[in-house]
């Protein structure tokens, strides 16, 4: 059953000096849904994120958000539409305090641009608690970020996704470089976002991270969308087999053909 989509990326194409990075990609998300975007390195996952965040402009295709059409998105569009993106690259200011990092680029202000410092600190403390970061050194919003571990720093970037107005969080490889315990925190956090009725596009090359939290999986390979599966139709072993097969041959095993909910003929023709 497919519900009303909050976010749709329609027929996106992006090329870089003749090399096609994304070929007619369609991705959509419903309210309160977690979509796992999975694919190997070079599949086009990060290009997709950069198209949404306005870093790149699509060559063709468009976005439909709450029914409104956008030929391209900018960072301020995303902010207004309630789309928060956690990039793979570090977007923290390590010499600054936690509260400044949480509100980095979208500071809460009074008229004339003066900072609501106490409110930002209070909300940061709430977020840290909500994230489950209980180590004492991390719980004060006044602590400087560089004194904290990589997991905490990633947590700060995620805390931004729990933005009070965000409807959709796009998380680009949030578990890369994290320990097992840290990855679990991140995945728990994704579940928390979902519980709040918000949507998530969770991007990863690790299906074992994606599977427990995602409702639907979109598989990208070498710039193309090669399949889309509902979690209820697939076990984690099925997904794993599909991905291994795609990585090796560019195709997924025939027995999963009927479970592929994507009907875009262009995608199929890529490898046929």
């Amino acid at each position: 059953m497919r519900t009303e989509k909050f976010f749709r990326a329609v027929d996106l194409v992006k090329t870089f000096e003749g090399i096609v990075a994304l070929k007619h990609i369609n991705i959509d998300v419903a309210q309160g849904e977690v979509v796992g975007l999975v694919g190997d390195n070079g599949a086009g996952k990060s290009t997709f994120v950069k198209l949404v965040s306005g870093v790149y402009r699509p060559d063709s295709g468009y976005f439909l958000i709450n029914g409104k059409k956008f030929e391209r998105l900018t960072i301020s569009d995303c902010q207004q539409l309630g789309i928060t993106i956690v990039h793979q690259e570090s977007t923290t200011a390590d010499k600054q305090t936690i509260w400044r990092n949480v509100f980095l680029g979208k500071e809460l202000t009074y008229p004339l641009g003066f900072l609501k410092i106490n409110e930002m600190k209070r909300r940061t403390a709430e977020l840290l608690e909500g994230l489950g970061f209980v180590a004492e050194r991390a719980t004060s919003p006044d602590n400087v970020l560089r004194n904290l571990s990589g997991g905490f720093r990633q947590g700060i970037q995620l805390a931004r996704a729990l933005d009070f107005t965000a409807n959709l969080a796009i998380l680009d490889e949030p578990t890369v470089g994290l320990s097992l315990a840290e990855s679990q925190i991140v995945l728990d956090f994704v579940s928390k976002i979902k519980e709040k009725g918000k949507s998530v596009i969770l991007i990863s090359h690790n299906i074992y991270h994606l599977y427990p939290v995602a409702d639907r999986f979109v598989i990208l390979d070498r710039g193309s969308k090669v399949g889309e599966f509902l979690k209820k139709d697939m076990t984690i072993d099925d997904m794993s087999r599909v991905l291994v097969s795609i990585a090796r041959t560019g195709h997924f095993p025939k027995e999963f053909e009927d479970k592929n909910i994507d009907s875009n003929p262009i995608v199929r023709s890529t490898y046929d």
């Binding site: 965040s53 960072i75 010499k95 900072l115 571990s149 840290e182």
Partner: protein, 343 residues
């Protein structure tokens, strides 16, 4: 017992958050104590403090706004020329029209304009700030030299006028210029710590890519910072001319190294992203105290630069150690244990 622990915690939090400011304050106090011990007569005399506070603002004021530029991870070498430019505009305006407020406003606007050009050059040309502002430094100094033919203009005839007295006089032995520098410091401190502009300065200095990714208009913030620095440098130039009672083309040049040094002594990191107005203010006070103290202690004036050199090198060595430690921490980033993570 509980009280003791909370006091310890309070002190440790204070130390962690305000380490640099506390050290700079202690250095200032220590130097004052040393000079006062060497020459108790001079340092119990109010006139000594009067001349300290007369000299200090000219180093402090440009250093305050230069702090913004260094926080951005950049440097400005042109502010002494901008000081001269604004001082020249003021001298020309006043010698033509008399001591008017309009003359002061015009001189400030010209300073801000020079800063604006620096900002545009740095953000749009792709040149590094050190090269771009080296160029504009020569340019504006050349403009002032050409415009003034290398001659000075006396401003002493206006010293009883209201604008002159508001900007430069004494209130019970306290030079107004130190009051002005405190005023500038407060305004810049509020902007840096309590305004979104200051928050963005810190972020850009920390991680400009992150700032851009998160939608901060980095070029605009940098241009604003340079414009503000131009305005404040222009104000410093005006005060310099009124303090000496004369405009001369080389009026700002003495402050180039002093103001840059004040910023670094104050704990602003060469690599950007960290810095305080308080630190730069005290850095300026320290440097001018050295000048005062060396002379009043009966040493040759040449010792001034020797001591300043030692202080600057020490400050930069401490900074370098901090930068190295930071790099090491990045390389050996500790992983969070399951216990720490709360799982």
């Amino acid at each position: 017992m509980i009280k003791k622990i909370s006091m310890e915690k309070f002190l440790s939090t204070l130390w962690n958050a305000r380490k640099t400011q506390l050290v700079v304050t202690l250095v200032l106090f220590g130097m004052w104590l040393a000079f006062a011990t060497a020459n108790p007569f001079a340092f119990t005399n109010i006139i000594t403090y009067g001349s300290w506070f007369l000299v200090a603002p000219l180093t402090i004021i440009p250093a305050l706004s230069l702090t913004y530029i260094v926080i951005l991870g950049q440097i400005d070498l042109s502010f002494p020329s901008v000081m001269a430019l604004s001082a020249w505009i003021l001298a020309k305006a006043w010698s033509g029209q008399g001591p008017t407020i309009e003359g002061v406003v015009l001189a400030l606007c010209v300073g801000a304009f020079a800063g604006l050009l620096n900002g545009i050059l740095v953000t749009k040309s792709g040149l590094s700030s050190i090269i771009a502002t080296l160029g504009t430094s020569f340019f504006w100094l050349g403009v002032v030299d050409l415009g003034s033919n290398g001659f000075g203009i006396s401003l002493s005839p206006f010293q009883n006028s209201v604008p002159f007295r508001v900007l430069m006089s004494n209130i019970m032995g306290v030079p107004t210029s130190i009051i002005w520098s405190i005023f500038v410091a407060i305004v810049l401190w509020v902007l840096l710590n309590h305004h979104v502009f200051g928050a963005h300065l810190y972020i850009i200095g920390n991680n400009i890519t992150a700032a851009r990714t998160l939608g901060i208009k980095t070029d605009r913030v940098i241009v604003y910072a340079y414009t503000l620095h131009g305005l404040v440098s222009g104000f410093a130039g005006i005060l310099a001319a009124l303090t000496t009672g004369t405009f001369y083309p080389g009026i700002g040049q003495a402050y180039l190294l002093l103001s840059i040094a004040a910023v670094f002594i104050g704990g602003t990191l060469v690599t950007g992203g960290v810095g305080t107005i308080y630190g730069s203010f005290l850095g300026g006070l320290i440097l001018s105290l050295i000048e005062m103290g060396v002379l009043s202690s009966g040493f040759s004036g040449y010792w001034t630069e020797v001591i300043e050199g030692v202080i600057i090198v020490t400050a930069l060595l401490v900074q370098w150690r901090l930068i190295l430690r930071e790099r090491r921490m990045k390389l050996q980033e500790p992983k969070m244990t399951a216990n720490e993570a709360g799982v």
